[in-house]
Symmetry: C2
Subunit: 323 residues, 2 copies
Amino acid sequence: MPGKEVAVGIDIGGTNTIFGFADRGGNILAEDRLKTTHYEEVEVFVAALYEKILVTAKKISEPLDIKGFGIGAPMGNINKGTIEHAAGLPWKGIIPLADLFRKHTDLPVVVTNDANAAAVGEMIYGGAKDMKNFVVITLGTGLGSGFVIDGKLVYGHDGFAGEIGHTAIRPGPSNRDCGCGRKGCLETYVSATGLKRTLLKIMADSIEPSDLRKYSFEELDAEIIHDYAKKGDHLAIRAFQHTGRMLGFKLADVVAHTNPEAIFLFGGLALAKDLIFEPAKEYMEENLLSIYKGKVKLLASQLSTQNAAVLGASSLIWTNEIK
Amino acid sequence: MPGKEVAVGIDIGGTNTIFGFADRGGNILAEDRLKTTHYEEVEVFVAALYEKILVTAKKISEPLDIKGFGIGAPMGNINKGTIEHAAGLPWKGIIPLADLFRKHTDLPVVVTNDANAAAVGEMIYGGAKDMKNFVVITLGTGLGSGFVIDGKLVYGHDGFAGEIGHTAIRPGPSNRDCGCGRKGCLETYVSATGLKRTLLKIMADSIEPSDLRKYSFEELDAEIIHDYAKKGDHLAIRAFQHTGRMLGFKLADVVAHTNPEAIFLFGGLALAKDLIFEPAKEYMEENLLSIYKGKVKLLASQLSTQNAAVLGASSLIWTNEIK
């Protein structure tokens, strides 16, 4: 008996690696995770991940016909199956991830940028089903981007298209260090970490009291700042406004490059809704050339954050995006 | 007798409109021009242009089989056949250019952005013959851009992809007014006009003597500044350096969007060679994420400036880019 056709979707993040079994309809049959940070050696990580995938598969009551492994990771390269110089992961340099996986399996293994995976997921299962030209921005610890043009994901000549998180906010040395080794990158402003940094800057410049002053940088996260903003904390609100404006400024650039129908925001920061969408939309429109004004939709991803990354990664196996 | 198959390529610029008859091999059989600025009414302009095309056709010794009219113009829209809000042209608002042309002919008329036309020309006849992913930047009175991804020109959802001349150099109100009504656009720095503005700024800030101080803003042009730079004039050299750096800074953004194999510079400023290429290359590399460093070629267009625009526009008729 052949079993139910599924693809394994894997999302490798700086903190957790999440995987799941998805069918062609985008239904997740099972999902589990392991801590990325627990594994200093990538070979040990891959072996542990593969083992856990097998264990999870056995728990599913119906027999499975696994068609392949789709992996989304920061700096994932679809041409080479590698992760290259990903600042947020424990493994440095060029990691031959697909090859390491193939030591365990003969099934297809596809590696791509996590934001590219999210864009494919949005196209197949989310809000971009009827769109040919759109962009997905993932807002997590960092900022990723995936571009779809004429219904196809853009990989670029070297397989690294869509890294707008590492475009600089202004020319010359800026004041914020980026994990990539440079300064002033968009993701140092627009990401969960960027939001925290902006809040600290605002607390430094302002004398206004706020309960947020009780938190250390390490204790803070986007959710805490979001909670305070909802309660009316001025510093938290200003941090979101500044973050949204920096995002909107750069989204105007995105529009001038590829003229998308819509830009989807995905991930933790996007859950703050109007707090991030309103300033982003306002500043994007303010910076748009007249021919674009009022035409580009700024939308929330229609994939739930819980399994969107897994869905997106699994969908790499179903699409003809595979190279 | 059917005659030689040709397409009429038309390049509508802020000062001149150039047209020519090109065969499929990219040979120009004849070329002529008229002053764009002489025509306040676009209907009169189109009638005069069409008349002049017919007159020029008659001067060609062999019989012609005209297959269509390809038109490149600032803010040209391929979907609608319009020119929309082009700051550098005498006609304001939305101009139904293709429809106006069709009053004179039943042949196909294709209108697109002039930089898009240049990109198609580079792909068919120029240095991008073997490339699938590249960008063309046109440096004239303004700055245009055309993106090719997977061998196809990117038009975007509304037909207006590739207007990076109107992305801002930094967030917030900047000091240079742009013809588009906003402030601080890339083309206010990187274009023949931008070069002049930068030279004036440098002359204002510096006390160094220079023969360029004898010229009025109106008398100055990129060629004069180029000549002085070649003679070693420090202010002229600094103006080129600053222009190249601003370009390089934004080219790093372009790479982070679509990861092209090469970026071609085309037009008057590109003729200044090392004076513009060296600072642009240096600043692009400095601002690139490590995964892109040393990989993206910055090249001069291999189309001669004299007829590249005409070739590019004519090639719209030969390609399946026509919508």
